[in-house]
Amino acid sequence: MASKVVHAYYLDDEVLLDAVKALKIKHYHINEVYTPFPVHGLDKLMGIPHTRLAICAFLYGLVGLSVAATMMNFIMIEDWPQDIGGKPSFSFIENLPSFVPIMFELTVFFAAHLMVLTFYMRSKLWPFKKAENPDERTTDDHFLVELNATDDQVDDLTSLLHASGAVEVNLKEA
C-alpha cells in the first residue's frame, strides 16, 4: 500500500500537546516529534515508556561510592598511613568522617558523568554524527510532528493537522 510521510509544524508547545492529544484520539501513529527543547508531558502523551536512566544513575552512584571508599582505604590506611590533625588511628572506620566528603563527591561525579555517557550512547549520539532531524527549524522555534499515512488517509489527516493549529504541513513519498 502506498504511503506518505507527513510533517506538521507547530509554533507553540501547548498547541503541540493538544495536537498530539487529538491525533492519539483518532489513532494516528506518530513516528517522532522534534522539539527545540524538552516539552513536559509529551512523553506521556505519546505513550513512550518511562526512562530507565535513573536506575543507571543510582547504580553508577554506588560504583562511585565504592571506588572512593576503596581508594581512600588504600591511600590513607594501607599504603601510606598518615597522621593528619593528630588523628593517627590508622583505621578506616575511625577516620571515616574525613573520607565522607570524598565519597560524596565521587558518588556525584560517577553518577553524573556516566549518566551523560549512557544517555549519549542510548540516543546514538557521538562526535561528527550527522543530524537526524528533518528540518533545521526544529532546533530554533518550530515543533515538528512526523507521521505515516496511507494515501486514503492523507486528506483527513492534513485537515485534522490544520485544524489542530499546524502552521505548515508537508507531504513526502515514503
Binding site: 508531558g41 535513573a54 590533625g85 593528630g86 588523628k87 568522617p97 574525613s98 565522607v100
Partner: protein, 452 residues
C-alpha cells in the same frame, strides 16, 4: 467543608488524657532527696544497665565541673555525685516536656515558613494545600504559649534546663563563677531572654493571623486579587524577619542549654529539621483528608512534590548535621568537641540512630520517583522522618539537661502523647473552620491541573 470523624474527635482527647497522666507520673516520681537517688540507683545496681549508668554519670560529673575533681574526699565526692544525679532526675520531666513542646511547635513554625515561601515564589502547584497548611499553623499560638510558659518557669528557677540562669555563675566571689557564661550575660540573661522570645512569638503569630485572614478575604472578594497581593507583601516581610528570628530562637531556646558551646550554622540546622518535619506533616494530613474523600482535586503529582521536598530537605538536614560534626570532630578543640563526646558516650543509640532515621531511611525509601506517588510509602517514610526529628530535638536538649540519667520512659512518652493530642486537636478543629479549597486564589486553577 470538613467535618471531624468520630475517631478524630475521640483520639486527640484520649491522647491528651494519657499524656497528662504520663506527665503527672513523671513529675511525681522524680526523687526529692539524695537518699531517694541512692535508693533508686541501688535498686537498679543488680543489672548491667544500672552499673554502666552509674559509672558514666560519675565521669560526667567530673568533666562537668572542675572544682569537684579537686575535692578528693571520698565521702564528699560521692555525695556531690548523687546530688548531681538528683539535679538531673529533677530536670528530667521538665526536659521531656520541653522536648515534646518544642518539637510540635517547630513543626507548625516550619509549615508557616513553607506557606510564606509558596506566596513569595508564586508557586502554582500548591494552592490546593493552603488550607491544610493554614490549619497546621493554627497550632503556632497554643504551642508557642506553652513553650513560652516553660521558658518563664526556667527563668523563675522552677527547673534548671538552662544552666546559665544560675546567678552564682555570674558572681565573681562564688567558687561556681564561670567567666565564659559571665561574658555572655549581656545576651543570656533572664529578662532579655523572655523579651526576645515574646518578640519572636508575637511577630510570627501576627503574620499567621493576617495571612489566614487575607486568604479568607481573597475567597470572599477575589476581584483584582487585592488580598492576594497583600499576602505576597506580608509573606516577603515575614520571611526576612523569620530567617533572623528563627536563627536567634535556636540559639536561645536550644543552643543555650549548652552555654559554653556554639555552632555558627546551628540556626540553619534547626531550620532544616523544622522544615522537613513540617512538610512531612503537610503530606500526612493531606493524605489523611484524601483518604476520607476530601480534597478531590489533589492528585498524586501533589503528593509527589511533597515527597520530593521530604527527600530533598532530609538530605539537606544531613548535609548541615555533617558539616557541623565534621569541622568540630576534625579540629578537636576541647570546648567544642565535648558536645559530641557526651552524645557519643551517653547517647549512642539516639545519636547514631537519628542518622539512620533521618538520612538512610528517607533516601532509600523516597529516592525512586514512582515510590513518591505511593501514599502508603510516603506515610511510612513520613512517620520515620517525624520520629527521627523528635529524636533530633531530644539529642539537642537532653544531654545538657539530664546528662547520662536519660531514658525513654513514662515522662517522655507522656509528654509526646500530650502534645500530639493537643496538636491533632487544634489542627483538625482548624480544618473544619473554612472551605478546604481556597476558591479565590488566582493560582488555584493551575494547582488543580498540576500534572507532572
Amino acid at each position: 467543608m470538613y467535618t471531624l470523624t468520630k475517631n478524630l474527635k475521640f483520639i486527640p482527647i484520649l491522647l491528651l488524657i494519657l499524656g497528662i497522666v504520663g506527665i503527672a507520673i513523671g513529675f511525681s516520681s522524680a526523687p526529692h532527696t539524695i537518699e531517694e537517688v541512692k535508693e533508686l540507683l541501688h535498686d537498679s545496681h543488680g543489672d548491667g544497665h544500672g552499673n554502666s549508668h552509674h559509672e558514666v554519670a560519675v565521669k560526667d560529673s567530673h568533666s562537668g565541673s572542675h572544682h569537684e575533681v579537686s575535692s578528693s574526699h571520698d565521702s564528699h565526692d560521692s555525695d556531690a555525685h548523687y546530688e548531681h544525679i538528683l539535679h538531673q532526675l529533677h530536670n528530667k520531666p521538665w526536659a521531656s516536656l520541653y522536648v515534646a513542646a518544642l518539637f510540635f511547635f517547630i513543626i507548625s513554625l516550619g509549615v508557616l515558613a513553607f506557606y510564606a515561601i509558596q506566596f513569595v515564589s508564586y508557586a502554582g502547584w500548591s494552592p490546593l494545600l493552603f488550607r491544610v497548611m493554614e490549619a497546621i499553623t493554627a497550632y503556632l499560638l497554643p504551642g508557642g504559649i506553652i513553650v513560652f510558659l516553660i521558658l518563664v518557669a526556667s527563668v523563675l528557677h522552677w527547673n534548671h534546663l538552662f544552666v546559665w540562669m544560675d546567678p552564682e555563675l555570674l558572681d565573681v566571689t562564688s567558687d561556681k563563677y564561670d567567666a565564659l557564661i559571665a561574658g555572655k550575660s549581656g545576651w543570656l540573661n533572664g529578662s532579655f531572654f523572655l523579651v526576645r522570645a515574646a518578640i519572636y512569638l508575637f511577630f510570627w503569630n501576627l503574620y499567621r493571623k493576617y495571612a489566614v485572614k487575607f486568604s479568607k478575604n481573597q475567597d470572599a472578594e477575589p476581584t483584582g486579587n487585592v488580598w492576594y497581593k497583600k499576602s505576597f507583601k506580608y509573606s516577603a516581610a515575614f520571611l526576612v524577619f523569620f530567617i533572623y528570628s528563627e536563627s536567634m530562637m535556636s540559639w536561645d531556646w536550644i543552643m543555650s542549654v549548652d552555654p559554653h558551646w556554639f555552632s555558627t550554622l546551628f540556626g540553619w540546622y534547626v531550620f532544616a529539621s523544622m522544615f522537613v518535619s513540617g512538610i512531612t506533616v503537610i503530606a500526612l494530613v493531606t493524605i489523611l483528608l484524601k483518604s476520607q474523600g476530601y480534597l478531590p482535586a489533589v492528585n498524586n503529582s501533589h503528593i509527589h512534590d511533597l515527597a520530593k521536598f521530604m527527600f530533598g530537605i532530609s538530605v539537606f538536614w544531613t548535609y548541615l548535621w555533617f558539616s557541623q560534626f565534621l569541622l568540630i570532630w576534625y579540629s578537636n578543640i576541647p570546648e567544642e568537641v565535648t558536645y559530641f563526646i557526651t552524645r557519643i558516650n551517653d547517647y549512642k543509640l539516639p545519636f547514631f540512630g537519628m542518622i539512620v532515621l533521618n538520612f538512610l531511611f528517607p533516601v532509600l525509601l523516597l529516592i525512586n520517583s514512582d515510590y513518591k506517588r505511593l501514599n502508603w510509602l510516603v506515610v511510612m517514610a513520613g512517620f520515620i522522618i517525624l520520629f527521627g526529628h523528635y529524636v533530633d530535638v531530644f539529642n539537642m536538649i537532653m544531654p545538657a539537661t539530664v546528662g547520662a540519667s536519660w531514658s525513654f520512659g513514662v515522662s517522655e512518652i507522656g509528654a509526646l502523647l500530650f502534645f500530639l493530642g493537643l496538636f491533632m486537636f487544634v489542627v483538625f478543629r482548624a480544618l473544619t473552620k473554612t472551605e478546604l479549597e481556597p476558591t479565590g486564589n488566582p493560582l488555584l486553577e493551575e494547582s488543580k491541573h498540576f500534572h507532572y
